[in-house]
């Protein structure tokens, strides 16, 4: 059994977070992960407050265990979602794609624990000072919005810079990755890509098939030219977007090109027009299974790896 300080801090049984993925991480997936003892996370994505409220209430009908809401700070309704988080007394909020400083006071006053996703040491330090109870250090191997630094160099540098617990994300899909994250000083992991194929994940079957077929070099990061890099599977959409970037398309043109592409992937499984967000670990994801089985496999694998890790030491 593996239990770490993040478990006591957040009232969870197992130090596994399920990544908040826009149009993907809904009450169905998040409640299954929370019910399995991990931290299920509902993603607000670019949705309005009413969607988040509905999903939070649905999750609470399925489990009474702790969960989180992920607020992507580029969401046009971010202010409204931030208020819903307070009104619904969401126990934990995870933030992504930016700096949540302006909401931190209201959330901490309401008793909501704030755990920002950070892609640099400076942002981690700033978040600690602003009242975050932990940070998720997310490397560029992840799917979705990413920074530039990879998990291996990012996590230990963040661990050294802050005194709050650090959760590692990016490039983790099995117990070996979890064990490696612990070796880097993390006390928990956030996993997204592997949960894409969980039975409780409600995305289109075509999306799941693409993840299951993906290999080590199947993803690409687009959007660097507009300061908002995003990792997804190579696809007709990703190719068109990358070509437009190479040809120097204006920011507005690129934003317009991307509008609706996440929904087309997650809900319609539209191979030609969808943006299939996915991490570099996709090649390690080989089977559909219940979320609880994924949580347990991650931890059992980590336990085996950690026990074996001493074999070279005399």
């Amino acid at each position: 059994m593996i239990r770490t300080p993040i478990c006591d801090l957040l009232g969870i049984e197992k130090p596994i977070f399920q990544g908040g993925m826009a149009w993907i991480s809904d009450a169905s997936l998040a409640s299954a992960v929370s019910e399995a003892g991990g931290l299920g996370i509902i993603a607000a994505g670019s949705a309005p407050g009413s969607y988040v409220r509905e999903q939070v209430r649905e999750l609470r009908e399925r489990t009474d265990r702790p969960f989180a809401v992920n607020l992507m700070l580029e969401n046009p309704s971010a202010d409204e979602v931030a208020e819903v988080i307070v009104e619904e007394r969401v126990p934990i909020v995870v933030t992504g794609a930016g700096n949540p400083a302006k909401y931190m006071k209201a959330w901490t006053a309401a008793g909501t624990k704030v755990v920002p996703v950070v892609a640099s040491v400076a942002l981690a330090r700033m978040m600690e000072r602003a009242g975050a109870v932990a940070v998720i250090a997310e490397g560029t191997e992840s799917g979705g919005h990413i920074g530039e630094t990879a998990t291996m160099p990012l996590v230990p540098q963040v661990v050294d810079a802050v005194s709050i617990p650090v959760v590692a994300a990016g490039g983790i899909a099995d117990g070996r990755g979890v064990a490696a994250a612990f070796m880097l000083g993390a006390v928990g992991v956030q996993v997204g890509t592997r949960f894409l194929v969980a039975e409780e994940c409600t995305i289109a079957e075509e999306y799941k098939d693409l993840v299951l077929k993906a290999k080590d070099i199947s993803t690409v990061a687009t959007g660097r030219s507009i300061g908002s890099p995003v990792r997804c599977l190579k696809s007709p959409f990703a190719n068109r977007y990358a070509k437009a970037e190479r040809e120097g398309a204006a920011a507005e043109e690129l934003v317009a090109l991307g509008t609706g592409a996440l929904r087309k992937a997650a809900k319609d499984g539209n191979y030609d027009e969808g943006s299939f967000l996915c991490g570099q670990v996709a090649g390690m994801v080989t089977r559909r299974e219940p979320a609880a089985a994924i949580v347990d496999d991650l931890l059992e694998g980590a336990e085996r790896a950690l026990r074996e890790a001493t074999k070279w030491v005399s």
């Binding site: 930016g98 700096n99 400083a101 302006k102 931190m104 892609a119 640099s120 400076a122 942002l123 330090r125 700033m126 978040m127 000072r129 602003a130 920074g147 530039e148 300061g227 908002s228």
Partner: protein, 78 residues
């Protein structure tokens, strides 16, 4: 107190952060226009805190060199 102005010291930090030795910087220069993304701005905030021994409100999110200078001068006066 350094002989350099706040503006010059902020510019030095911005140049170092962005590798911008050959770029002209003015009070009106927008950080985004010289290729600095949100993570780089956070980096500059933290570097300015160390340089000037002040604590910048994390909610401030300055967008231009001039806004950085104004925030820091305001904190130094107090």
């Amino acid at each position: 107190m350094s002989d350099q102005s706040t503006f010059e010291r902020v510019c030095a930090i911005v140049r170092e952060q962005g590798g911008l030795d050959d770029t002209e910087l003015t009070n009106d220069t927008k950080l985004a226009d010289v290729g600095l993304d949100s993570l780089a701005v956070v980096e500059i905030v933290m570097s300015c805190e160390d340089e000037f021994d002040v604590e910048i409100d994390p909610d401030a999110s300055p967008a231009t060199i001039g806004e950085f200078v104004a925030i820091i001068d305001g904190l130094l006066e107090n």
